[in-house]
Amino acid sequence: MTDVLQLFVAGVSIGAIYAMAAIGFVLLWQTSNTINFAQGEFVVLPAFLMVLFWTVFRLPFAAALLATLVVSTLLLGLLVKAVLVERLLKMGVLPLVIATIGLSMLIRYSLQQFWTPLALPFPALFSRAPIRVGEVIFTREELMNVLFAALVIGALQLAIRRTKLGWAMQAVAQNRNLAAVLGINVSRLVGLTFMLNAALTAVAAILVAPVYLVKYDIGIGIGLKAFYAAIIGGFNQIRGALLGGLLVGLVETYSAAYISNQFRDAFALIMLIGVLLLKPEGLWGIKEEWM
């Protein structure tokens, strides 16, 4: 029983990270039908920026975080939207898919070439001293990861529900042409979504970095898992990203512990394929035929 709970803690905490990266996927898909194959690298680059500002330039944490947020929002949000997406969105899904694959390679190899191929340490933001509840051990770090992800997703959900901008985003996702008729500038909104995604991945990077360590190639794994999470949870709902992320984390952990280590990567995938075939809109998604 202890093990079951301990594994639950582990699954939820890793799942929270997947969920954080998955939200951006969902947002981009909703407002611009963009599938970002560089999402993993969108997490890695801010992690490196954070290392740069915090441990290399020795800025105070808050300043480093702010600088990271600003730079990644401009670089991964504004620039990517202006240069890549603006032009490619009109040409269908595939060119954009290939371009984002190219972008992921560009970020990955640039970090490796211009910085380091080695894993960089990243200071733990929260204490790793074990907290015991009965036999189950967890750390403040894990707790904060989960809380933070829940908080961010909750805040985002709230913002999307309550703010004008959030409504505009929903409106564009649900009926792009009608949104235009009501005076919503769709292109500007897509740009904002890209910036929001970049900010979110920057925040995710700060959670990811102490766990994954900062290395140029960790984005591949994170991006894939985030993708699974988004599809399993439901591509058209933000809460779906949370559900999907947690499910992927839990399935991975439990199946590795109780079924097979060797096939640990397969179980989340089998779940994904099952969901796609049986409930393509995702477990918490909404059928798109509405629209």
Binding site: D3, L118, A119, I137
Partner: protein, 389 residues
């Protein structure tokens, strides 16, 4: 217009032909570095490349080999076996005297026949037993194969640590599987087995599932055999869960694991073929200069590359000529001492399959540095020197 274009094409062709025909500087001896510069093996390849470069610099500073200077060129395998085959062929086109690399076993197995066909001696950083099992007379390891390394490691774990209940966590690829096979084999030779045998994925982030199974197994020692950053993540989580096991390993105590792992690494014990913290003064010196030059502490791959380059030098000098066939012969069944060639750092014996035997170290991580707690002698021997002229 058209005539101009034709002329242009002709000119380009001429230049190209000239470039091929004109010999490169005949004085220099070329060494090819074929390594994992990009892709998953990039950390390993970077160490390997820098180790060779440092060695070449040292050798050239002392007047080269037999009076000829060394120069190197680099080929990147992208950590991909088919690409490694391609670049190996390309390297051979440049007529190097010897090839240093590759480190990934799957690449080495795929590309070593090409070097063999070309008759260019190949010094590899790989440690898989697959490589020496093929009976390729052209391939030489600079470190132990897993066969010799794990024989020494298991001897230490069983005799010095007196470990009875050992759990094993390894990375499920050729590297980790090879280590696992050897670890289990030598334990079995001593009538022992592991209480838990757990595979992990490359780039895995969370190890709670494995660690809970280690805890359930009641192990007192945990053998960890994965890549550097996975080792570090695993150790961090092991400390977090407060598992009462003693972590042991091989590359577990490499500086490239310790740096990202931080405090969690303290207390880990390893059997390592070489270390920057070595009591051997020349090894310390190389470690220091490596760090000055490249800004990081060399791991075993850095040393392996440094020593491998000097193995070429030692053999050439013993032969007395740049003769690839003779150098190859000379490297087999032969002992080279650090007294004769300081760049070897330690005495090394190369057996008939190209595998090496050498002294090694038991280290423990203290304060984010590995400290040598014991020096281990060669596995076999005593060996004798053989003349090669």
């Amino acid at each position: 217009m058209r005539r101009q274009r034709i002329l242009l094409v002709l000119a380009v062709a001429l230049v190209a032909v000239a470039g091929m025909v004109l010999p490169a500087s005949a004085q220099n001896v070329k060494l090819a570095i074929v390594a994992e510069i990009t892709g998953g093996g990039a950390p390993v390849g970077a160490m390997w490349r820098d180790g060779v470069s440092l060695a070449v610099e040292d050798i050239n500073k002392k007047g080269g080999i037999l009076g000829r200077r060394l120069e190197t060129f680099l080929m990147d395998t992208q950590s991909d076996p088919p690409t490694s085959v391609a670049v190996m062929r390309r390297a051979i086109n440049e007529h190097p005297f010897a090839i240093l690399g590759t480190v990934y076993s799957s690449s080495t197995v795929a590309n070593m026949d090409i070097a063999r066909q070309a008759g260019v001696p190949q010094i590899t950083g790989s440690e898989s037993v697959l490589i020496t099992q093929k009976g390729n007379p052209n391939i030489f390891l600079t470190s132990f194969t897993q066969q010799i390394g794990f024989a020494k490691l298991v001897r230490w774990v069983a005799e010095d640590l007196k470990a009875e209940k050992i759990a094993l966590i390894y990375v499920n690829n050729a590297f980790g599987r090879g280590g696992r096979e050897m670890f289990l084999k030598f334990l079995k030779d001593r009538g022992k087995s592991v209480v838990a045998d757990l595979s992990t994925e490359p780039q895995q982030a969370d190890f709670t599932a494995e660690l809970t199974r280690v805890r359930a197994s009641g192990a007192t020692h945990l053998m960890i055999y994965s890549h550097e950053e996975e080792n570090a993540r695993l150790m961090i989580q092991l400390r977090k869960l407060g598992l009462a096991v003693e972590p042991v390993g091989d590359n577990l105590c490499a500086q490239t694991t310790i740096d990202p792992g931080g405090e969690a690494m303290n207390g880990a014990k390893c059997h390592v073929p070489m270390t920057a913290a070595s009591p051997v003064p020349s090894m310390l010196d190389v470690g220091r200069r490596f760090q000055e030059k490249y800004g990081r502490v060399p791991d075993h791959n850095g040393f392996k590359a440094y020593i491998g380059t000097h193995m070429v030098k030692a053999a050439v000098e013993r032969v007395g000529a740049f003769d690839q066939a003779k150098v190859r012969d000379c490297l087999h069944n032969n002992l080279f001492t650090a007294a004769e060639e300081p760049g070897l750092l330690m005495d090394v014996y190369v057996d008939d399959k190209g595998d090496t035997d050498r002294g090694s170290f038991i280290v423990q991580v203290k304060n984010r540095k590995s400290e040598v707690i014991k020096v281990v002698g060669m596995l076999g021997g005593p060996y004798t020197k053989r003349a090669c002229r």
